[in-house]
């Protein structure tokens, strides 16, 4: 490379690790500019929220004491006595929800712009796995304050896993650390939440980001049909990155606003020998599945309704994950594209079932 790059810290590193081609690559990376460019920011926002979760999660670890006797008390102490403890917990709880929300937005925008197709099949698959792990983060983290609502929601959630044929009971016992939801479950969920899932998530996230960097942004069909001269692009560095950072700043402000003005309730401490209170609901991103299970009759065609529902959801999830491999292609002439119809049906189902779940 040029003489100047050999000087200074960068030159020292470049001599050893041959970084110049990487920098050169980044410098030439372009992001398409068109009327749907806004969706390019959704993955970045999700990434940013993950970083916020990592940061606030580590802060919460400094005071959290896992265990049925200590967990609730330690969270209460953190919220009431520790300076800004209430803030970091509220940011972590709100951040988790917004993280999942943006992951869904990111996923559906990828779906509707058909960015999952060749050559980005594996980016889609890893993204789906990240969403599933993100929901695992949510499910395991929900129990950690050991409050009443989370206790019963976890009982219901793990019991649903138990309805699966053959392996269901083993999964339930594995998740619960025993037959019932107890302090043993809390310790397991803690291990899942702070060690197991983060380790797997970080690895897959690295691969996902590597794929995105290597392949660049997807150009939607209507852009790729344009003549080369009419296409507009923007340099990734620094133009797009600075816009990314600006959006992150807005998201951070919204997050702080929510955390300050709508702080997260702790609720009552879980009591395994008390009746379930009214209003046991899973977190909103599980609501559509939960509500569907409620609507399925107890027995369908001689099978247990719940088991059937869980199996159908698993198959649907698998099909969704493998969309790039069975995608229905059509000539771009028709107004109604089959994949768009499938996408709207899926989205509509999720939205309607979620709303019904909160109304009933």
């Amino acid at each position: 490379m040029s003489e100047t790059s050999k000087r200074g810290v960068f030159g020292w590193l470049d001599d050893r690790f041959h970084l110049a081609p990487l920098v050169d690559y980044m410098r030439h990376k372009e992001v398409p500019v068109h009327r749907h460019s806004i969706w390019y920011y959704m993955g970045g926002v999700t990434l940013f929220l993950f970083i916020v979760q990592l940061f606030t999660g580590i802060l919460l670890l400094m005071y959290y004491r896992p265990g049925a006797e200590s967990a609730y008390e330690s969270v209460r102490f953190l919220m009431n006595k520790v300076p800004f403890g209430w803030l970091f917990r509220a940011v972590h709880s709100w951040g988790a929800n917004i993280f999942i929300l943006f992951a869904f937005v990111h996923m559906f925008s990828t779906f509707f712009t058909r960015a999952y197709g060749r050559p980005r099949e594996l980016t889609w698959v890893t993204g789906f796995v990240l969403l599933a792990l993100g929901m695992g983060f949510g499910f395991s983290g929900y129990l950690l304050p050991w409050n009443e609502l989370a206790f019963f929601a976890t009982k219901v959630g793990t019991d649903i896993a138990g309805v699966l044929p053959v392996v269901g009971d083993a999964i339930k016992v594995f998740l619960r650390g025993g037959e019932d939801v107890t302090g043993a479950t809390l310790i397991r969920f803690y291990a899942f939440h702070i060690a197991l899932i983060p380790a797997i998530f970080t690895g897959i996230l690295g691969v996902h980001l590597l794929f995105v960097q290597r392949q660049g942004m997807h150009e939607p069909e209507f852009v790729s049909r344009q003549p080369e001269g009419e296409k507009r692009t923007m340099a990734f560095f620094p133009n797009f990155l600075l816009r990314d950072l600006f959006v992150w700043l807005i998201v951070l402000n919204v997050l702080l606003f929510l955390a300050v003005f709508y702080p997260w309730e702790l609720g009552l401490e879980a009591d395994p020998f008390a009746s379930a209170p009214q209003g046991i609901k899973p977190e909103w991103y599980f609501m559509f599945m939960f509500q569907t299970l409620k609507l399925i009759p107890a027995h369908v065609l001689g099978l247990e309704g719940e088991m059937l529902g869980v199996l159908v959801f698993m198959l649907a999830g698998l099909a969704w994950m493998l969309v790039p491999f069975w995608e229905i292609r059509t000539r771009a002439t028709g107004r109604l594209k089959p994949m768009a119809v499938i996408g709207f049906l899926a989205l509509g189902f999720i939205v309607i079932m979620t709303i019904v779940g909160y109304l009933v």
């Binding site: 019963f152 009982k155 219901v156 019991d159 020998f273 009746s275 107890a298």
Partner: protein
């Protein structure tokens, strides 16, 4: 010439492949066993004493810790005791006695049982399991029903 070579190679492949499978098994087995929690002591209870009969007002209920399971103890208006498993047969929530409705209700998914534990409405697929209630020396004692 080629034949013995190939069979030696496939033999080695089997040995190495088998060794690898054995190695994987020897790692997975202890890990899987470790993750299966051992049975805890204290789950196998035959009977539990609630307290003096006179302290239990008619028309009220209590959740009693029976080993590791909750049991719903109800005293009807006429003074009769009923004890039922408090674990909803639907999805494992803990039920409660509603004195105004004279029924047993699960708040999680609106499951309703009658006072004998029969599932009346809502999603529960089975009735609540009954327990025996005896008065021993003036104390209310809940016991497993002899099968």
């Amino acid at each position: 010439m080629a034949e013995p070579k190939r069979s030696r190679r496939s033999f080695l492949n089997y040995v190495l492949g088998g060794g690898l499978l054995g190695w994987i098994g020897s790692v997975i087995y202890p890990v899987a066993s470790y993750l299966r929690p051992p049975a805890e002591a204290g789950g196998d209870v035959a009977s539990v004493k609630w307290g003096p009969e006179g302290d239990f007002r008619p028309g009220t209920s209590a959740i009693v810790k029976f080993g590791r399971k909750p049991v719903l103890l109800v005293r009807l208006e006429d003074g009769e005791f009923r004890a039922l498993s408090a674990t909803c047969t639907h999805l494992d929530c803990t039920v409660q006695f509603r004195s105004d409705q004279r029924d047993i209700w699960c708040a999680c998914h609106n499951g309703v049982y009658d006072l004998r534990g029969q599932n009346v409405s809502g999603p529960p697929p089975r009735p609540l399991g009954p327990y025996a209630v005896n008065i021993v020396d003036g104390d209310v004692v809940i016991a497993r029903l002899e099968a």
